[in-house]
């Protein structure tokens, strides 16, 4: 058996072990690689581009080979009539013995985090009006409810949120018989459109995990790091065999130390690491005090755990050093200063010097786009003159082909001319307290610590929903795009929760169009607040940061060589 994977991540290790999967390949056009197997399974997203590749694979299969290989196709998360029709038109549909679906909508990433891993969800929804990913999201939420009980309250903000809620209500009506008798785990579902809060992902995340993602990019909980810092320190070798392969590390809450520091502001990470270092070396010192055999035995039994802690500490110290090199650089500081000026409302209405300089020095285009978009969002759109100036600068410096990318950003509302003539952002900022001057990075008392001053709008909305409720910010909600709404799903009387005193409510926050690590950190911070009263579980279409997000909106035009 051999499996073929298309884009999107599926954990196949279990399947692999159970069914003796021989080999796994990623999908690419051309002839299938040689493998001495009888069955070939394609794991694919139902997309036409992928169907073309599969058709190509199958058509190029050697008919004469013996034994003939059997093909199967497994759609994730849903079978698609369109794709099957397409395969049929290519004349290969009959080659597939089994055509099934693997209904994997929401993939668990951590104890409190689910993602659909649908990279293009934001682009599809806002640029192309293709709501396929929203349909999958609604289906995923239905599955979640089938497992964890009907969620009695649904709140939402934004067009997509409205659409998902509508589909959920419709799906529930379509299956009246499936009355759920599971005691609900979630009290509230909050659906948030990414375009309600375009600002947050544009800003540079300043939590530990957020910075790792900004600088090195976390992919499916794994990060690849430059190897130099991780070279095994052995005496005598003098570093002659420096590893050249990037160091790959898995990052999740299973690692005790990482769970502790991932959501901290980076400035607070150093002190934790040094404290940990002291504790660990103290623990290793214990061995000198161990006198009796019993004491030694106890020490030895703790050894594996201590060694794991030590290597974990070493890794994170190295990562922190790597990040520190960057965060202490002048350019990082300048960039951050400009971002913070924009977010606190300073000089958002005129052409910014730093941005101009960066363009002149031809810094990375994505960096420029992030800054210009950030300024536009913080000013509710730019004056036509300012906007045109930026656009001209970008086109002249980076090439005219980027006109389509700029067009996409305008369509998505990230970059726009100020139309109403009024800048709503200051009102929103003040009402929602998006900018906090007295931020405490070491012992935070507010979510604004994740951006060292800026409190992510999306998370603020979640926080205000829990207490005191959205009614208090009705005016601001109207300024943000899309409708806000509340729906109730009736529960049978037996399942209605009688709340004990001091028991937390559980809210599922679903970010349609992506969520950043800093926002997740902010929500985790709210969960841990002593008087918070609400625990948050986070679901999203995709984990994003400003760079990956902007990249997904860029039009890639390669000129044909003349």
């Amino acid at each position: 058996m051999a499996a073929h994977l298309s884009s999107g991540r599926v954990n196949l290790t279990a399947l692999r072990e159970e069914h003796e999967v021989e080999k796994m390949f990623t999908l690419k056009p051309g002839r299938l690689p040689q493998a001495d197997v009888k069955n070939i399974i394609f794991f694919v997203r139902p997309k036409l581009e992928l169907m073309d590749i599969i058709a190509d694979n199958v058509l190029r299969e050697d008919r004469g080979r013996s034994p003939q290989r059997d093909f199967h196709i497994l759609f994730v998360p849903r079978r698609s009539l369109l794709c099957e029709q397409w395969l049929k038109e290519q004349g290969v549909l009959g080659s597939f013995i089994h055509r099934e679906q693997y209904s994997l909508d929401l993939i668990p990433f951590d104890g409190d985090l689910l993602s659909m891993e649908s990279e293009s969800a934001f682009k599809e929804c806002y640029l192309e009006s293709d709501q396929t990913s929203l349909y999958h999201a609604a289906k995923g939420l239905m599955t979640l409810q089938a497992l964890y009980g009907t969620i009695p309250q649904i709140f939402g903000k934004g067009e997509c949120a409205r659409h998902v809620a509508n589909m959920m209500i419709r799906m529930k009506r379509e299956f009246p018989g499936s009355q759920n008798s599971i005691f609900p785990v979630f009290d509230t579902l909050l659906l948030l459109d990414r375009n309600v809060d375009l600002l947050t992902p544009l800003a540079t995340q300043l939590t530990y995990e957020g910075l790792i993602d900004e600088i090195y990019g976390i992919q499916n909980t794994y990060v690849k790091l430059p190897p130099e810092k991780f070279a095994p320190k052995k005496q005598g070798e003098g570093g002659k065999d420096l590893p050249t392969e990037p160091k790959k590390l898995q990052l999740n809450s299973a690692e005790e130390l990482y769970a502790e520091i991932r959501d901290k502001n980076f400035n607070a990470v150093g002190s934790v690491l040094s404290k940990k270092a002291k504790i660990i070396s103290a623990a290793f010192e214990e061995r000198h005090h161990a006198k009796t055999v019993g004491e030694i035995k106890q020490f030895v039994s703790q050894l594996p755990h201590m060694q794991a802690a030590r290597s974990s500490l070493a890794n994170h110290t190295s990562i922190a050093e790597l990040i520190k090199d960057i965060t202490t650089s002048e350019d990082f500081f300048d960039n951050l200063t400009v971002e913070q000026e924009f977010m606190s409302g300073i000089d958002t209405d005129k052409v910014n010097n730093y941005i101009e300089d960066c363009i002149a020095q031809k810094h990375q285009l994505i960096k420029i786009l992030r800054l210009v978009c950030l300024q536009s969002v913080c000013n509710s759109g730019l004056k036509q003159k300012v906007l045109d100036h930026y656009k001209r600068e970008i086109l002249q410096t980076y090439g005219y082909e980027h006109i389509l990318t700029l067009n996409n950003l305008e369509k998505a509302g990230l970059l726009k001319p100020q139309t109403s003539g009024r800048n709503n952002y200051p009102t929103i900022r003040k009402t929602l307290r998006l900018w906090m001057d007295d931020v405490n990075e070491q012992n935070p008392n507010d979510i604004s610590y994740v951006y060292s001053g800026y409190a992510p709008l999306s998370v603020r909305l979640a926080q205000l929903l829990a207490r005191p409720g959205w009614r208090s910010i009705e005016e601001v909600l109207k300024m943000l795009p899309g409708p806000h709404f509340e729906e109730r799903q009736q529960l049978p009387t037996g399942l209605q929760k009688k709340r004990q005193h001091g028991e937390n409510r559980v809210t599922l926050v679903f970010f349609l169009g992506g969520v950043t690590y800093a926002e997740i950190a902010a929500l985790r911070f709210l969960s841990q607040m002593e008087d918070g009263g609400t625990e948050y579980v986070i679901a999203t279409t995709k984990l994003i940061n400003g760079t990956t997000w902007i990249k997904s909106l860029m039009e890639k035009l390669e000129p044909a060589p003349f």
Binding site: E124, D130, T132, A138, K362, Q396, L557
Partner: protein
Amino acid sequence: MEWGLREELRDCLVAAAPYGGPIALLRNCARREKSPGARPLLDTFSASGLLLASIPWKSGQVVQLGWTASEDLLCIQEDGTVLIYNLFCEFKRHFSMGNEVLQNHVLEAKVFHTEYGTGVAILTGAHRFSLATNIDDLKLRRMPEVPGLQKPPSCWAVLSQDRVTIVLLAVGQDLYLLDNTSCSVVTPPGMSPSAGAYLQMAVSFNYRCLALFTDTGYIWMGLATLKEKLCEFNSSIRSPPKQMVWCMRPRSRQRAVVMAWDRQLMVVGNSTECIQFVLDEDSYLVPELDGVRILSRTSHEFLHEIPEASQEIFKIASMAPGALLLEAQKEYEKESQKADEYLREIKDQKLLPEAVSQCIEAAGYEHEPETQKSLLRAASFGKCFIDKFPPESFVRMCQDLRVLNAIRDYQIGIPLTFTQYKRLTIEVLLDRLVLRRLYPLAIRICEYLRLSEIQGVSRILAHWACYKVQQKDKSDEEVAYAINQKLGDTPGISYSEIAARAYDCGRPELAIKLLEYEPRSGEQVPLLLKMKRSKLALSKAIESGDTDLVYTVVLHLKNELNRGTFFMTLQNQPVALSLYRQFCKHQERETLKDLYNQDDNHQELGNFHVHSSYSEKRIEGRVGALQNAVDEYYKAKNEFAAKATEDQIKLLRLQRHLQEDFDKPYLDLSLHDTVSTLILDGHHKKAEQLYRDFKIPDKRWVREGSSGCTGVPASRGAQ
């Protein structure tokens, strides 16, 4: 029997389905030659002899009748065609047993049931066998030839061993086994050498046992694997029995074979003696799981081994705990102190729980409600004297008996025994009631047994509705209304399935009315498409939110409508339009242009041209496409984009000249990089010209100038 037959059974082709199933009769077929004008009649009856349907037989000569596991009637014709009718003699479909059978005709045929479903075995005029193990998934198998077979075998049977279907046949004194590939001669172990030629054979219901009858009246009984003999018997009757069948109970050691001659019925088993009955009239034997049904013109009897529990209780002078308990209860009703004595006798032996179980079990085997009641009463009485006797078995038995008594009523006519009922399961029984259109009874049973709605009531209602739509004497409105009245929002009802049935019956209007009641819009779409209501289908697909479904309808519409109408239809459905645009973006870029043209979307047309300019292979092509883009941007009143694109054209032309002049690649560098390269290469004049032509802001110009002078172009540094 209710049927009041005038003919003798021997003049008819008879087939009765197992599990108390229906009976089919083809009458007059024997007399066909005498009076060719008279058509034979095909009748179906319930097991109690109530006429279900009757039709004149208009097709070819029928060789054999049989029932499938789902109670469809199979009529196997001489030419190898098998016609399938339902219980009510309504034609369903037909299939053929292949060309070989068609040429050589069917000599004999047998219908058999295995775990794969219902199968048909044919012996052709050329003495070859053809098999189909499952008529619902027809795969014909032609069995290998039997060497030297000149005349038809005296008898044959289909065996099922280890999931393989094989044929056993007898020719004179030889037995042959035919499997897929080979033919082998077999000899049953312990067969008396003087037994003679085989005349008749019988396979048990579960394919486990085999009985062989020879022309000396000798009967061999053994395992169907032919590996072990169970017993033998000498009947001293030399003529072959008309029918020979096994009569045994699952898991019982008492195995017996029943043989029927014209007026005599003989039961033989592992004993030197046999039981004989006189038959007053023509009889027909139907093998069952736990016994034999005996049909005749006036009666319908069931012959079976008395189960152990019943024997223990009803044996004369039995002292079994169950018997004592029954006695005790009777005395108790008479208010006699003997009740206590009997009870003590059981209790002293600590056998009371066993006594209760025995009575419950025995009640299940009884057919008379009075006897059932007295046994259950005894069980209930005994239960009172036991601490914590689990009540489930008692309650379950009461429920089962109530269901069984209801269906055994002659008006329903399904004489299931308890054992058969348990094997059949309640779900299948409900299906059979539905097949007989006994909807109210089926629903009442569901309600009585508290089956879940989706499994029970709603499934039955859906079947009822499917039947209802076939009633042509009522108007569409009436039928739709009646169905909705009865079904309402019952969970698990698929209105679209009912609608599909209505459409198949040629009532599209009714189908649409019924679809209105379907809450799942996704379900409505396929049928609407089939009925060519594509536009309605499109809006339903959009309602469902399932984009895949929308795509399906859109592509369907694309093939069905002409281009103009297709575009117009999409125009009214923005969701479908944007999805179609996505499709075009990947698959048909030219159509995309037409779509934008149609709604005068000049901005997107501009973008479209910019996009396609990058796939142009020649610079003139690129410039041409960009010029188109400029025009469109102007039409869209997007001055900025138009100017920028004009600049781009200007730059391209300039770069071509530069490339020619300096023999260095300039094309597709950005303006910034072009200027930097020029400065670096010392063409300051040219650079300055670009600075003026493109109005490069002073600020950047200074930077570029300086970086160019220092020889470290910023652009290179950043790359």
